[in-house]
Symmetry: C2
Subunit: 359 residues, 2 copies
Amino acid sequence: MRRYLSGIIAVLAVMVLTSSSLQAKKIRWRLAMSWPTSLTPISSPAIKLAKYMKEMSDGKFIIKVEGAEKTKAALGVFDMVKGGSYQMGHTTSYFYIGKDPSLVWFTTVPWGMTKDEQYAWFYYGNGMKYMKKVYAKYGMLAFPGGNTGVQMGGWFRKEIKSVDDLKGLKMRIPGFAGKVMAKLGVSVVNIPGGELYTSLDRGTIDALEWVGPGMDIKMGFYKVAPYYYTGWHEPGAEALFYVNKKAFEKLPQKYKTMLVTGMKAVAADMFMENFADSVTAWQKMIKEMPNIKVKTFPISVLKAMKKATDEVLNEYAAKDPTFKEIMNDYMSYQKKARVWTMMSEYYYLKASQEVQNVK
Amino acid sequence: MRRYLSGIIAVLAVMVLTSSSLQAKKIRWRLAMSWPTSLTPISSPAIKLAKYMKEMSDGKFIIKVEGAEKTKAALGVFDMVKGGSYQMGHTTSYFYIGKDPSLVWFTTVPWGMTKDEQYAWFYYGNGMKYMKKVYAKYGMLAFPGGNTGVQMGGWFRKEIKSVDDLKGLKMRIPGFAGKVMAKLGVSVVNIPGGELYTSLDRGTIDALEWVGPGMDIKMGFYKVAPYYYTGWHEPGAEALFYVNKKAFEKLPQKYKTMLVTGMKAVAADMFMENFADSVTAWQKMIKEMPNIKVKTFPISVLKAMKKATDEVLNEYAAKDPTFKEIMNDYMSYQKKARVWTMMSEYYYLKASQEVQNVK
């Protein structure tokens, strides 16, 4: 009997231990961000995702989020997630065009799609298929992680009246748009974020681009460069979540779905937060500095920017068949999508403006 | 010793039973939709939410989704969720303005906010606070559940050249916009969806509004009414998830977070699906019927619509202090938000159009 009882105890003990060890087994991931933890709304998606994952998993899936202030490697996220030292990252794709130019198509390009058009391309066109294919080369999965909407064209100390005014202009404008501006004679300079305000104030640079009112206000540029140009170069910049492919594939389905669902929710939320921040910030800026002038570049300048953009893109396409394939698909989708954007959103905004103007 | 062993067995047995009964306990909810299951993309959010909840909960949270074809009560969702016979619903707020006019602010109003503006108001302005307050009266929680974007102004058999052309025009345009059109002399008629095509074809009605190309194409209107007017009356119609408050409050935190996160993800997705459907459908329609003309109402007509909208809203506001309070907050947010929409999205689209037009 005692032996029999011992058997029962053993079986039950195994059941309890199995059950409780399963319960106790925590998944601990690390996520590296390309921005400081305090840089909302761009740092918000990763921070919120970690919170939701913890809650949804009953504390069993913990993501430790590390900002660039900790990792000291804002542009190292790609390699950290690829190598597996971090299971996840929150960054942008176009930071890494030096490694692979095709990556640009998953953030934004000058004169490209708006966020609505691009999301339709990602999820209901071929966007995610290409993203999966390109990132698979690096052992990673990538997912949309929040959009800034149309970014402003930047802060200028002087008005731009012609293409000639761009010649020799010293401007901080990184990445693809910088290559376009260089073609127009702009002297593209690279200055760390912390020195930008002083450089603009002292005239060391004549202009710079950042994001939009919500993020620009913290930098103070509106106090020293009164011309705020409307956007052309980053019409819908998407942040991306990176996930190490092997780490993802080891997860049970429930955690995969939590991650994918969570990423989509926080991505949507980042746009909202940035939009709301911009609404509030713009009211504050214009009140404090009523001399800020919102300007659109003259049509001759816009045309030159478009021509230079096409040249830069075609140069890459000539050298890289994957770049070309994605570009053709992107352009073809943009053309169709834009017709609908104009029919719906654009004509509504235009009609609203006209109706309000003539009370 | 035997006694001692029995004690251990008893304790272990309780642990096993507790653990496995907790594991086995399934939550089964029902969700009623205001639309047939087949009516994508508007039926997509609820169907996807149920799928994600099942996966995230490891099969322990099951939501049975029932379309209007099953419940036979498209407009009964409010009462079904309020009463608790369904724990959730997927519907729109403005279907129920007969019960409470304030509900209109959580779907859309003529000349109101775009979806981006409205989402910023919901989540970073006072929108969700008001939504919570208003729906608490009915024992429900409500959450954004997908947006259509700017809806088209409708299909017209004849061109509208002046306000006079609206007088006596027989049009299917329900809800708030119908009240506005009635003020302009339109004879607003109510015809079941299944009879609309024939009515428009035979001239029993002169015009109707539906949604946008993606959903309109299935109805065939483009074959019989060639004037497709741009939107003014539903600039960002939001579907809502309803949740019975008592049912929600009984849930453990993990399921609450799964639901809230899931609803946000599927809401974002519905807009994308509808946008992509519209892109594709419009290409198909215009190819099949090249005589379709996209028109914007003349400025005199738009102004009359705006004036009539203000009258209708002010009439409600005069009778209902809650309506007035929400209206004032909404209008004040819209005014600020629109400045940013114009600076960012609008001027980008305008510049792109100009650049493309002059190649």
